[in-house]
């Protein structure tokens, strides 16, 4: 996990005492991880933006009303809020048909490609998009463990406790998630320009 000069818990303490700059630092520090977690669950950029706001609104309400438990860690706590909101949305979405938005992923993708050629940028973007799709195609229990461990930074024991399974089951699901991703990667179509090779 990344180490920061001022810890999350120090920033939360400053924020509780009214320092809005401390809150801004927390938001900027963790926005990508939280947003990615939500996005990988709901699979829609616009819904993810809304749920990101809802997540932080809940966090602000809890902290400013004095209900935040300072003994806990900020990131796992807020990621749990995000995860729960995303799962709630996902379940609701399965029950009711929803409007399908055109995906504008490239517009807000902040990966730094500035030094690369157009071709390598395109191949890398396709690889990243394929990986997102592969993660979303994983069986739900495997995807859940993978997101919780990799993006939410929960330990395998914490995942086991949260999902009501043994740690060996959580580890096994992660193992199969990695194996499945590797298998999907090896089966993907080679990148080539169909206009050149198609006859």
């Amino acid at each position: 996990m990344q180490k920061f000069q001022v810890s999350d818990s120090e920033l939360v303490s400053l924020y509780i005492r009214g320092d809005e700059k401390a809150f801004e630092k927390l938001v900027l520090r963790h926005k990508s991880r939280i947003y990615t977690t939500i996005y990988l669950i709901v699979k829609d950029q616009y819904v993810a933006e809304d749920l990101m706001q809802d997540t932080f609104i809940k966090a602000v309400d809890t902290i400013k009303s004095g209900r935040y438990n300072e003994e806990g860690k900020f990131l796992p706590w807020i990621v749990r809020i995000a995860h729960n909101l995303a799962i709630d949305y996902f379940r609701r979405d399965k029950r009711y048909p929803s409007v399908v938005f055109e995906d504008g992923s490239s517009v807000f993708n902040t990966l730094d490609f500035s030094e690369d050629s157009v071709e390598s940028i395109q191949i890398r973007q396709e690889t990243h998009e394929q990986l997102r799709e592969m993660i979303q195609r994983l069986p739900e229990v495997q995807r859940q463990v993978l997101i919780m461990r990799h993006y939410e930074e929960m330990s395998f024991q914490e995942i086991a406790d949260a999902t009501g399974v043994s740690i060996n089951t959580a580890l096994g699901r992660m193992r199969y998630a990695l194996i499945n991703l590797r298998k999907q990667f090896s089966q993907r179509t080679p990148q080539y320009d169909k206009n050149i090779y198609l006859r």
């Binding site: 990615t36 602000v60 902040t110 990695l178």
Partner: protein
């Protein structure tokens, strides 16, 4: 007695959940098991790729969040749609 390591141990190792003592033994085990080593290297590569697909929200979203916080408690009825 020499402990036999499993693929689940390698998964724990990938995510730094093994003890320093286990780490030494797992590294030893990886050097003598080509399949397990391949699984470990694939895992490392996937971890790197998964780190790269991290996305950021639109700046309007973070602006809305910061505004909500600054205006709290009056922001409870604030319009977040802009």
């Amino acid at each position: 007695m020499t402990r036999t390591f499993t693929y689940d141990d390698v998964v724990r190792y990938l995510y730094a959940e093994t003890s320093p003592q286990e780490n030494d033994a797992i590294v030893e085990a990886l050097t003598s098991d080509a399949e397990m080593l391949a699984f470990y290297l694939d895992g490392l590569e996937l971890q790197t790729l998964m780190d790269r697909i991290v996305r950021s929200p639109d700046s309007r979203t973070t602006d809305n969040i910061l505004r909500y916080s600054r205006q709290y408690p009056s922001s409870q009825t604030a319009d977040l749609s802009c």
